[in-house]
Symmetry: C2
Amino acid sequence: MRELESVVPVILSGGSGTRLWPMSTTDRPKQFLALTAAETMLQLTVQRIGGAEGCAPAIIVANAAHGDFVEQQLATIGCHPQHVILEPAARNTAPAIALAAIAAGGSDQPLLVMPSDHVIADVDAFRAAIAAAMPIVADGWLATFGITPDHPATGFGWIKIGETLGAGVNRAERFVEKPPLDKAEAMLASGDHAWNGGIFMFRADAYLDALGRFAPDILAAAQAAMDKADRQGRRLLPDGEAFAASPSNSIDYAVMERAERVAVVPVAMGWSDVGSWDALYDVSARDALGNSATGDVVLQDTSNCLVRSDGNVTVALHGVSDLIVVASGSTVMILPRGSSQEVKALSALAGERRAG
Amino acid sequence: MRELESVVPVILSGGSGTRLWPMSTTDRPKQFLALTAAETMLQLTVQRIGGAEGCAPAIIVANAAHGDFVEQQLATIGCHPQHVILEPAARNTAPAIALAAIAAGGSDQPLLVMPSDHVIADVDAFRAAIAAAMPIVADGWLATFGITPDHPATGFGWIKIGETLGAGVNRAERFVEKPPLDKAEAMLASGDHAWNGGIFMFRADAYLDALGRFAPDILAAAQAAMDKADRQGRRLLPDGEAFAASPSNSIDYAVMERAERVAVVPVAMGWSDVGSWDALYDVSARDALGNSATGDVVLQDTSNCLVRSDGNVTVALHGVSDLIVVASGSTVMILPRGSSQEVKALSALAGERRAG
């Protein structure tokens, strides 16, 4: 797909969530873990665009603490990013993407902004959606990919799909923040709403122009931070003081919900943000008894369980069903499937105990 | 209790079962683990007879591989055994007790033979039973303690309680091997049957006499092994070749079921052989939610679980009930309460995986 070659992947690796505790931690968040394949989420994200030809020369924006992880993981798969931008502070996605757009030269080159820790099972569908977005992006629109919903999710933002702008591309009529269940059910039933998957495509200049109009403080801080950036090979270290002056805001709030020429590209591509152990179970390959087990795991008369071990301990299960069991480092976590939203509280309790 | 002072405790530590895998292993069987208290099962067994005055000078019969464990664990609690007899081979209880009876001098001194890995919650009841047995033992009878049954156990031998021989002492009318359930139920209902708990009391000479009559090969082998024993301080190492010639047999089969003057002392003393994780749960102190948790364990919305961690990993549970979770060394085992008989198969499967 020739058009893809002109696109610069911008991969956002700033996340530090611990929703997959005890495997993901602040020191080693989800994008650096191999959760669905032998490759880590970051590696899969980079390979997704490069395809058979290899990796596109991406721009990675990462937490300064994770620079080594990023470079090691990309080197392992033979990928060489254009830039690894190490954020001196976390300021959410709008400033992070501004750093990348400036590093890309601020030209009319299209950027494809992707979180580093999502699953996309149907890469061909993703690529087709990118191709569909290309004309309108070239024309200066800001595009977002609208994930075809399969349940009334209350944890995602939604987008109302408006008038057709071209083949497979529509106007984004309205952004809806995380909705209550009844509203989510209504949107699912309507057939003209999609999830906001946090994947965007636009020309670097179009994004910076929009940012200058709707969030000039962010643009100014990002520009100042990049003007005084320290360059170490592929690494770019924006000036800490200048970047710290930026408001913290998401691209959705700061730009997408305010700009006028915003498009949505509806796509069904087996997407998941893998935002919980339950979500990981949903996208994982499973054996005949419904188990997804990887690592040093022994199962006997066990069904419908998600079991992960990083190899520090052997996990042996007998006679259980519908459990999530995760052994990582010096922690083993056990809870029923369907309750993985409790991981945060449980990890806090375990942390308190260790500190206490 | 003055009579106790004349009794020599003989503690059998030859067991190498792995029914409490992954915590108990061949290298470190159950008697060397602290399962019900800060003390190990062996330490509790030794202290049970010593009482406030300290430890009686016991004779320990142990697997040769475990000599250091035995001596360290007794030294830690300030107990000094008369002898630590290290068996050069496992030949079951009849030969093991013969070694101890010979080491004790083969005199008319009463021996109290106890497994090293049982729980006795009501030590006063046990001591009262010992006192009750004392006259008839002095008269040359072989006594066994008959545990008052509280369920139709199919995993224990049973004893039919016969005519009264004295206060709290009866003739052992019949020994019944591990019965089928209907027979166990009938014996429980009868009210005149007790479990064979594997605890015995007799004069050393009475045991050796009986052994000479009913199992002369065992007596001859034990005697020969002791004649050529190597003595290293408290340690006695019977001759390996001589002892290997002994048939392997239990005291029940070899002696108790055959001898004529055999008494049973019925006693309800909170006894358990802790033969499984379920059995341990039954005898463990539990919190208000029915959990028995020790070690590095974090519980949230969890009930009726047995959770053990040796500290190598933190075990964090949320929202589960009626599970057995044991983390020991590099293994974590998870199974539902009520199925701990599956531990053997599960440990074999885990062992195969590691070897494969």
